[in-house]
Symmetry: C2
Subunit: 210 residues, 2 copies
C-alpha cells in the first residue's frame, strides 16, 4: 500500500514553520533562510555539501514519490492568483518531477512544466485531494509538501503515514504554527528523535500499525 | 562569578511546560506525569534507574546550587495562599536543601523545613529576586526552578547563564507555554541538542561570552 509522507519539514523551537509576513521578496517572512540552512548545507542541496545524518534524511525527499500535494501559500506569495503568469517559485523546471496538486480556492487550468512537474489546482477536502493524488501516483507514495496549514489539516484528518520534521534551535516568535489543534497527535505514531552535529534535531513520526 | 542556571525543565513539542488546569490533584493538569517520565526513569530519581544521558543531565540539578527561585504556581495549586498550613508539594524535607525564594504577590513569613530548605516569599522584579538569592547562595549558583512564567521572565530579562531544557515528544495542545514573547532569545546563547534513546531531546543553552 503506498504511503503518505512528509519530508524535511522544518520548524522552530516554538513550532513555527514559516515567519511573517510572507511576500515575493521573503517567502518565509522574517525567518529568512534560517529554517532550511541545515538542508542547504547538505550534498542533497549542494555538490560540496555534508554527507552525514542531515543529508541522509534530506535525500529521502524524492525517491518513491509519485505526486505531491501543497497549499496555495507554498505555491506563491499572497496575491499570486491575481497574476495569470505566476508559475510557482521554482523556475521552468521545478524540483517535484511529478504531478503536483495545489490546494486552492482559486483554481486555474493545469500548468505543465519541464522535468515532469505538472501543477494541478484543486479545491477539495484532504481525503479527496489524497485520493486524486494517489491515482496520479500509481504505486508510488504521495508527499504532503506543506505549508503548515496543509500539514496540520492532513495530520488532523489522520492521513499521514510518515512525517520527518526538523527542529531548528531558533525561537521565531511569530508566523504559522504547525502544532495548533493537534493535541495528542503523537499517540498515533512511533516517534524517534535524533539530533545532528549541525544542532538541528530530526523527528520521525511513523504511524503505528492499526 | 556564580551562574544562574535552569535544569531539567521539560516541555512538550508545542512548547508547554505544564498542562491545564493545575490543581491539588493534578499539579501538571492534563499533562499528568508525561513531562517528567524521562527523569523518573533515571537513577537520579530511583535507585534502579537508568544511568545514560538522561541521568547525566538530570543529576546536574543539585551540585553547586546555593539557592532556588520559583514561582507561586510551582509552590502550590491555585488558592494555596488561602491555606495557612500549605508548605509546598514536597513534604517535611523538600528536595531543595537551600534557601528557596517563592515569587508571589501573597507574601508570608519564611518557612523553615527539614534538610536545609527555607522557603522565603517575596514580591520583587527578577533582577531584585536574583540579587537576593545570590546573596543567600554565597559563592554558589542560583537555580531558576520554574514554572514557565518565571523562566520566561528571567530569560526575557537576560538573567539566565545556563538552561537545560528537555523536549518530550508529546503534543499537549494547552497549558502554559515557555516560548511566548521570547523571539530570537537563542541569539544570546550557544545551543546544543542531544537526543536520548528514551526519545527526549536535551537542549543546552550556554550564554555567549559578552
Ligand atoms: N518549514 C517548511 O519546511 C516549509 C515547507 C513548505 C512550505 N513552507 C512555508 O509555509 C508557508 C505557507 O504555509 P501556510 O500554512 O501559510 O499555507 P499553505 O499550507 O501552503 O496553504 C494554505 C492555503 O491553501 C489553500 N487551501 C488549503 N487547504 C485547502 C483546501 N482543502 N481546499 C482549497 N484550498 C485550500 C488556502 O488558500 P486560498 O484560499 O488562498 O486558496 C489556504 O489558505 C510559506 O511561507 C512556505 O514557504 C515551509
Ligand atoms: N516542566 C517543568 O519542568 C516544570 C518545572 C517547574 C514547574 N512546572 C509546572 O509549572 C506550573 C507553574 O508554572 P506557571 O507558569 O503557571 O507559574 P509559575 O511560574 O510557577 O508562577 C507564576 C506566578 O508566580 C507569581 N510571580 C511571578 N513573578 C512574580 C514577581 N516578579 N513578583 C511577585 N509574584 C510573582 C505570580 O503569582 P501570584 O500573583 O499568585 O503570587 C505568578 O502568577 C506548575 O504546573 C508546575 O508544576 C513545570
Amino acid at each position: 500500500m503506498p504511503l503518505t509522507r512528509i519530508h524535511n519539514f522544518s520548524i522552530s523551537l516554538d513550532g513555527f514553520a514559516t515567519g511573517e509576513p510572507q511576500s515575493a521578496e521573503a517567502p518565509f517572512g522574517h525567518a529568512g533562510q534560517r529554517l532550511h540552512q541545515w538542508m542547504m548545507a547538505t550534498r542533497y542541496w549542494a555538490a560540496d555539501g555534508t554527507t552525514g545524518v542531515d543529508d541522509a534524511f534530506a535525500e529521502r525527499h524524492t525517491p518513491g514519490i509519485g505526486a505531491e500535494i501543497m497549499g496555495a501559500n507554498k505555491f506563491g506569495p499572497p496575491g499570486w492568483h491575481d497574476d495569470p503568469d505566476w508559475k510557482g517559485w521554482w523556475g521552468p523546471n521545478p524540483p517535484f518531477h511529478t504531478p503536483t496538486f495545489v490546494l486552492t480556492h482559486h483554481a486555474r487550468p493545469p500548468l505543465e512544466m519541464e522535468g515532469g512537474t505538472t501543477f494541478h489546482f484543486l479545491e477539495a477536502t484532504p481525503a479527496e485531494a489524497l485520493a486524486t493524488a494517489r491515482e496520479a501516483a500509481g504505486d508510488q507514495d504521495v508527499r504532503i509538501g506543506g505549508g503548515p496549514t496543509v500539514v496540520r489539516d492532513f495530520l488532523a484528518a489522520g492521513l499521514v503515514d510518515h512525517m520527518h520534521l526538523v527542529q531548528v534551535p531558533i525561537v521565531l516568535g511569530r508566523g504559522v504554527r504547525l502544532w495548533d489543534g493537534l493535541e495528542a497527535v503523537e499517540q498515533a505514531f512511533d516517534v524517534e528523535a535524533v539530533s545532528s552535529p549541525s544542532a538541528v534535531t530530526h523527528l520521525t513520526f511513523t504511524r503505528k500499525a492499526p
